[in-house]
Symmetry: C2
Subunit: 579 residues, 2 copies
Amino acid sequence: MRTLRVALAQINPTVGDLDGNVRKIISYIKKSKKFGAKIVAFPELAITGYPPEDLLLKSQFIKDNLTALKKIQENTFDILTVVGFVDRKDNIYNAAAIIYNKKIIDIYHKIYLPNYGVFDEHRYFQAGTRCPVYNFGDTCIGINICEDIWYPEGPARSQTLAGAELILNINASPYSIGKGNLRENMLSARASDNMVIVAYLNTVGGQDELIFDGHSIIIDQNGKVIARGKQFEEDLIVVDLDFEGVTVKRLHAPRRRHEMIKLEKTDIENINIPLRKTSGKKPTKLRLSSISCSVLEPLQEIYMALVLGTYDYVNKNGFKGVVIGFSGGVDSSLVASIAADALGKDNVNGLFMPSPFTSKESRADVYALADNIGIKVIEVPINSIYHRYLDSLKKDFRGLSPDIAEENLQARIRGNILMAFSNKFGLLVLTTGNKSEMSVGYATLYGDMAGGFAVIKDVPKTMVYELCNWRNKKEGRTLIPESIILKEPTAELKPDQKDTDTLPPYPVLDLILKAYIEDDKSFDEILSLGYEAELVRKVIKMIDKSEYKRRQAPPGIKITQRSFGKDRRFPITNKYREY
Amino acid sequence: MRTLRVALAQINPTVGDLDGNVRKIISYIKKSKKFGAKIVAFPELAITGYPPEDLLLKSQFIKDNLTALKKIQENTFDILTVVGFVDRKDNIYNAAAIIYNKKIIDIYHKIYLPNYGVFDEHRYFQAGTRCPVYNFGDTCIGINICEDIWYPEGPARSQTLAGAELILNINASPYSIGKGNLRENMLSARASDNMVIVAYLNTVGGQDELIFDGHSIIIDQNGKVIARGKQFEEDLIVVDLDFEGVTVKRLHAPRRRHEMIKLEKTDIENINIPLRKTSGKKPTKLRLSSISCSVLEPLQEIYMALVLGTYDYVNKNGFKGVVIGFSGGVDSSLVASIAADALGKDNVNGLFMPSPFTSKESRADVYALADNIGIKVIEVPINSIYHRYLDSLKKDFRGLSPDIAEENLQARIRGNILMAFSNKFGLLVLTTGNKSEMSVGYATLYGDMAGGFAVIKDVPKTMVYELCNWRNKKEGRTLIPESIILKEPTAELKPDQKDTDTLPPYPVLDLILKAYIEDDKSFDEILSLGYEAELVRKVIKMIDKSEYKRRQAPPGIKITQRSFGKDRRFPITNKYREY
């Protein structure tokens, strides 16, 4: 056995909190040493948090991040430490410092800079060009960053051909549904193709729209997962890696030798790390608890993403608690449940603001939900305020029949009251709109869209139901009343209003939305899926016309392949019509 | 004389309006032929409008843009036509089609893709690698796109060394203060360094946050401006270019021959355009009106940018008119004046919503302003509505003294009423907040920030005054009453409130804001400009803490070097504090 004890510190840094992040990193270095690890790795841009966005254009910020690196450097005695930071040379680089015994051995610069979806790395960074390997004792290690590993002919390839037996890939890779699987398949191919152990370390935590799901993985030279970090939680994954398997496998791989000859190795560097004699102290026995943890089931995974996103947004921004407008509908009920799970029920306040259009069933549902979860409900009726508005507008609206103007007035009165509670008590307003509504603009700007964070903004309505049912099942009792899940959706802004007055049934709507928004399918392609032209035209038109609303929506948690926000950048002024 | 008549079609396309843009392009081709031009050029991405943003990720959109190009191709008889479009090969390219007699002679791919500030071109495009020259009759022409010309060693260099006597550079270059000068200096250097005539064609028009200012320029081989397109208006610049001067100058330039030997010309292509025999018809006599137009004075330039931005946002988005909340303050007065100049006074509605905190001076000022400009004022007092809110909240706010919650209630009642008028009459709400307020968050989300377009969002308060004075002077009489310009700024949300209760005087504030936001100066650097630490700390803190408000603000017109929006991408969750 030729083994090495490696620790992956799957931490949750906060963007811009250089001091806090350094403290966290140093504490994890100490913890890793206690476990007897010889190497500890930290995520991509662990010092600054990811993504720092335009903070990267501040020269002082870059300087402060270098000072922070120095502090970490002082704490790397007797453990090889790999940590993500922003390097500054002729330009700035998304970098990994390789530190040992208080010395910076080398700095790796990320080579492949993602500039699609939610990523803007070409806006900030220069691309690296070197991919060295490090000889650490009798192990040869290649280090690279995030996007680098997604290219089959990328640095992992060069590094393994140059001798690396371990590829340490540090990440800040945002969550979306199915991403875990996608990563694992890719990493497994990368490991077995290169006959190398791949240690994939991801960051964890919520940052505005993004959730980093942790879920670090270590994969052996046969493509088999040998360890896995927790999803949506900080974790320290400590593993004894055995490199004998790599050696044996490579000896039996004639094709590899062939490739090594073909490879132009001119830019490969082999850097020796002078080993310190380790102390005789026996390291703490390795606890394997974290490395065997299994993958969450699909709905649980999504729910946990929403819980973490809510928790981190509220706490990293220093709010004492949240307030949510309760309507008795399924969306606000799900948000209440997520918020209670994230923050504790005592930090969640429900505001029930009935109007004459509010049914007695809705009232009953609001109180049943609050009872089940244990949330306090404050009731502020809006009727008299609403009528005062109508009076004030009577003269100017004379002769015109009630329409969307009057409906929106009600929603905006509620928005105003929610914000008054926010301002008075320092509470964050969580909005309750789902992705289906956001897509077609079935929401009132400054009304139900008023608030600081949109928890389920990227959750389609059909998935809202699934999550409610999953949460009830998980609890083993009814948290979200059946009547809320079963009743027909309504905005209750005029008599007998139903969502289906305006929208197709949600199961149909959600499929069209996915085709158009996530899959970028054309009008004709959507028709060929079997939908009526008139229906598709109506839905697409609603999506296109609501861009101005989405532009003013609060940020919310990305869970799908394409969310609204940084992920989908559409012009408001846009006359393109393909139907 | 060896002359060529060249037309630069400085048009205003609309993003996504492929049919409309094609019609416009074809009409300008005809017009240019009437003027006897042998070449006509259209701006960067003239077919799609700029920037199309994520429309570029729709395969159908790319196809439709290629179909649009085909239609243009059919209309290029007897005139060399250069038009910006999206090319699709292995990937998509920001491209220029060079078309003659219904044939595509060549396609140029933009080489330098900007990915900073408001630009995201790496998100979409692959970079080109070829820089050919075209022999058109006895003239040799190099064509390139926008950013390409900003690099001294870029395509313009290779093309002139390969023989080009005319560099035709097509652009979609957004306006900001001072940009005209910057461009002209750069272009002048490019022309004289390369001994070449540079024809710089810019697009014109407003697109969400951006204004394209037109202001195309033609510069001779000595670096002298010989023609200039209008600023902020469509224009067709038709000029007879004389290339004898280029030849003579080059004959006297021994260094040039030296450089030509040094140049690796391997990727230079020389493409011959087979000339058609031109018809005997005499072309219309050249009117030189547009080519001699002078540059606007600084304040007029800014004002015209705001007028064009407002006009295009309202019209390209199909609004019938606008509604503005009138407070009797200088910001809403300036916005009213801009809107009236852009849309005609009959399409501008003022909404005056007094509260008990509204002074009688404010009331008088509102009506004086409306009278002067000729705008209708609708009055909707908010007092009774406000008191109904207070009643409804009495129980829950018991024992707490009035604070920002009550102030914001009033602003949000006004926002709600404005939006009711918007919804009822199909009017766009123009918000009236200036850059100073947006910077420090001295504005109410969903209150005075409620609206579709923020006309002066990027105009610092001190500049608001300058623009008001300029507009009055320009009119030769008082449009914006002196009393409005002279009185102390106040939000009038509580008794005797003044902006200076919360903020430093605007002349001081605006300098700190510029240092921090536009110039990215650090806390220490700002101190060294001579401000008190406590003051600077307070201002920076206000800026940093207001990011969440700005994220939900409507789009507004960029006029400074760094505006809020696509230009400045800051995280909301951000614990970086440098003070």
